[in-house]
Amino acid sequence: MKHLLRALLFFVLALVAWEALFRAKIWSPVLVPSPVSVGRYLYEAAVDGTLWDATLVTMRRLLLGYGFGIALGLPLGLLTARFRIVKDTLGLVALGLQTLPSVCWVPLALLWFGQSETAMFFVVVMGTLWSMIIATDNGVRNVPPIYARAARTMGSSGLQLWFRVMLPASLPYIVSGMKQGWAFAWRSLMAAEIYVTILSGFGLGNLLHYGRELNAMEQVIGIMFVIIVIGLLADKILFSPWEKFLHRRWGTAK
């Protein structure tokens, strides 16, 4: 409770300082809007629905691409861990492409798929997939060999061994891979939305982009806030339960 109050006080003071700077008129109000006008923009965008629509469009793109990237990356990561030949081929590709900032996929996606949802999907998948493959592969390789030995003496083998032992045993690595994949996907999607306009839907990145075009600084800052809040919520909703699970079972530090 004490921590919460302290944090709250800090943010109130920051807002007051911001408003004071705005009133001092050191910078042009076009460049530094008042917190009140940012608040007003957010309120109006929420009331007329643009904010919800944009959030929905963005979240749909993100979850679709992210979900697909995880669903594809996990089995591929298991394959690279299991088969040497997959490790030497796909594993190397993943290692290389993972170092590529995922926004670098945007030009290629546009050329291949045009200004379409498919392009957005592609960029998000590329952001997620490679780090998921590497995290899964890494997770399986770090499973203590004694687990597999113990399981085999109890009659576990083949797929049963993989799904009941190797996969759960590598969960700590897989969850941190999912987190990293999320961060990459989120960043690359924002970059893509700012970079290209797709008529099938305006996401938060588009609103940010138009805010700049219209010199509507309160819109730019307002949308940045929304993006931060979504990032924080995603962490709480998507990853907190997993981390609690890991903490409870493995006894690792939070």
Binding site: A150, T153, G155, G251
Partner: protein
């Protein structure tokens, strides 16, 4: 299958190790881990394999478990050749090797779930029976990291006993525990073994431990790994590790062991 028949001990198995040899490369050197080792273990016998590090005793245990394969020789349990891991031979490792993502009960259920012919409720009942046997019936919902080292090995013992194996293979299971916990487990293991007869092969480098637990102690010598000498321990059960009679055996075996010890080798007496 009813629960009572499931809980009834299967006949412990006779174990036959015939002319086993095993070499492997380690750090560019060829290690002759086992050289023509033969060993007969009777039904329900408790045998301890003792020797310095590198004498091949753990390798032999792994080969019996089906986790490693011999270059030459044959192995049989109850007359059937050993070709890989099997539910008739359960292993207890030095580390408990419990699964952290499962609670205690589910850890014990892991092997049981792979055993056909039991309903879910029966499996749970069997698991709880064995957890009670090792004194951990109150910890079914605990997670592995919440248990002490001794409790972990008790769970591992329950997990190994639950599918009702005919042979129990133990690879220095108590080596990482403190002395007090260890002594308690010596007593409990002897009690459990006398109630639920299993053929037990127990690897250790602690001579007293071997004398305390085994009907027979097989002494291994290294480079190449061979059985040097065997001792039959006729002390009455349940044996106390601190008794003088036990110490006499231990001194005799340690003297035999030191015959081929290098100065760097240490033995716990």
């Amino acid at each position: 299958m009813t629960l009572s028949t499931e809980l009834q001990s299967e006949t412990p198995s006779k174990l036959s190790v015939q002319h086993i040899s095993k070499r492997y490369r380690s750090g560019g050197r060829e290690v002759h881990a086992l050289d023509d080792v033969s060993l007969e273990v009777g039904e329900g016998e408790f045998i301890c394999l003792v020797g310095p590090s590198g004498c091949g005793k753990s390798t032999l245990l792994n080969i019996i478990a089906g986790l490693e394969f011999a270059d030459e020789g044959r192995l049989y349990t109850a007359g059937a050749p050993i070709t890989g891991p099997g539910r008739d031979r359960m292993v207890l490792f030095q580390e408990a090797a419990l699964f952290p993502w499962l609670d205690v009960l589910d850890n014990v259920l892991f092997g049981l779930k792979l055993k056909p012919g039991l309903s879910g409720a029966e499996r749970t009942e069997v698991a709880q029976f064995y957890l009670k046997l090792v004194g951990l019936e109150k910890f079914t919902k605990s997670y592995v990291h919440e248990l002490s080292g001794g409790m972990k090995q008790r769970v591992a013992l329950a997990r190994a006993l639950a599918p009702n194996p005919r042979v129990l293979l133990m690879d220095e299971p108590f080596a990482a525990l403190d002395a007090l916990t260890r002594q308690q487990l010596y007593g409990d293991l002897q009690d459990i073994w006398q109630q639920h007869r299993k053929t037990i092969v127990f690897v250790t480098h602690n001579v007293r431990e071997a004398v305390c637990l085994g009907d027979r102690v097989a002494l291994f010598s290294p480079h190449p790994g061979r059985i040097k000498e065997q001792f039959t321990i006729t002390l009455p059960r349940r044996r106390d590790i601190n008794s003088i009679e036990l110490a006499r055996y231990a001194i005799e075996i340690t003297a035999a062991l030191k015959g081929d010890a290098r100065p760097s080798d240490e033995y716990a007496i």
